[in-house]
């Protein structure tokens, strides 16, 4: 049972790693990278390393993902939906930026 669980996790880990490298949009890569860290955290628990699991979940999935997301925002690499674009346009009109 444990072996099956571990094999599933390992396959998921490799899948996440490959997907991070090949997806087109940077935001998707960041989200999949966070998922990679979560899977790795569970794997650390099955390997009886709870210290590493806690750190991996907090740093790998939480803080790294947040920092990468902020960088993408600054570089305008995140696709915006129509509603947000509309909102930005309205605000720009209000402040007379254009």
């Amino acid at each position: 049972m444990m072996t099956v669980f571990r094999v599933i996790l390992l396959i998921g880990l490799v899948g996440c790693a490959i997907a991070t490298a090949i997806v087109r949009k940077p935001m998707q890569a960041v989200i999949i990278y966070s998922a990679f860290s979560v899977v790795l955290a569970v794997l650390w628990i099955t390997l009886e390393a709870p210290d590493l699991a806690v750190t991996e979940a907090a740093v790998g999935a939480g803080v790294t993902g947040t920092l990468l997301y902020l960088t993408l925002r600054r570089l305008n690499l995140i696709d915006q939906d129509e509603a947000h674009k509309e909102k930005m346009r309205e605000e720009a009109d209000e402040h007379g930026k254009f």
Partner: protein, 296 residues
């Protein structure tokens, strides 16, 4: 393909000067009304670029396969998990396992190793974090002190959302308490400085995300963050240096291992855990604020 091959050879013989394409400044300005014509053939250059890209992809593929094979072979030749004959089973780990609790007073053997036997290693790691914090501060505040980055339009105003707002009010104290628990129990249970500090900082980051940069800036002062990080690191360096020199002479009064299992035991490990946690927390939170706002 024969044609492209000869193009590459021509480039090798020096008939096609690729660098001339870059020297646009030296070119004479085209006369008024006349269309600019590149002196070299753009199609040829594009073909060479495509070829070198193909070469790059092939080399990357070869490198990946070789590295993959080497690492897999190395992993296959590692001793089995729990093998008594493994070279890592030497007197060092034997001592940690047999006398670690007695000597350090920490039930968590990892904390005993990191903050007692190898405390200077952890001090170096904390200094790496502190150096990263200094560099980010210098880079992000260069030339525009007191002038934060222009505020961006948020995708959603989390503060106005009653569900997010109320849930965060409930969840942030819980995360903070859990972070303090992980930090303070570092010598008794899994966790310790790095993970506890990361958990604390995630609570602060959620606060800054939902309540907005300005309120977070008002609630958590820039000077507080800086002083906390510097003081924690200084305390670590001074106390560990003192105990390193004094314990050698048998003066273990301040940092006695105590009764293993109690919260106030394991000598210096508890305060050192708290110091490392504060450094990590301040660093992570500052990174977030600098990336988000350009200032603390």
């Amino acid at each position: 393909m024969a044609n492209s091959d000869s193009a590459f050879r021509r480039w090798l013989r020096g008939e096609v000067d690729l660098s001339a394409e870059l020297r646009t400044a030296e070119m004479p300005a085209p006369p008024e009304g006349e269309r600019y014509e590149p002196r070299h053939h753009p199609a040829l250059i594009r073909m060479i670029a495509r070829q070198s890209h193909r070469l790059y992809v092939a080399l990357v593929a070869v490198l990946c396969v070789v590295l993959f094979t080497v690492l897999l072979l190395a992993a296959a030749n590692l001793p089995a998990y729990g093998d008594a004959e493994a070279p890592t089973n030497n007197q060092v780990s034997e001592r940690y396992v047999n006398q670690g609790v007695e000597e350090t007073g920490a039930l968590n053997a990892v904390a005993g190793m990191m903050l007692d036997y190898r405390a200077f290693n952890t001090l170096g790691e904390s200094f790496v974090l502190f150096a990263a914090l200094c560099v980010v501060t210098v880079l992000m505040t260069r030339g525009r002190r007191k002038h934060p980055l222009p505020s961006e339009t948020d995708y959603a105003d989390y503060y106005a959302d009653p569900i997010v707002h109320t849930m965060c009010k409930v969840i942030i104290p819980v995360i903070l308490v859990f972070g303090v628990y992980v930090l303070v129990n570092g010598h008794l249970s899994p966790g310790g400085g790095f993970s506890g500090g990361a958990i604390l900082s995630s609570a602060l980051i959620i606060y800054a995300m939902v309540w907005g940069d300005e309120r977070a800036h008002g609630a958590i002062r820039e000077s507080t963050v800086r002083r906390t990080a510097a003081l924690a690191l200084g305390f670590y360096a001074v106390s560990k240096t003192c105990s390193f020199y004094m314990a050698a002479n048998g003066l273990t009064g301040v940092a006695s291992p105590g009764v293993p299992g109690r919260i106030f035991s394991a000598g210096l490990i508890l305060p050192l855990n708290v110091a490392v946690g504060l450094v990590v927390c301040c660093t992570m939170y500052s990174f977030y604020m600098f990336f988000r706002r350009g200032a603390l």
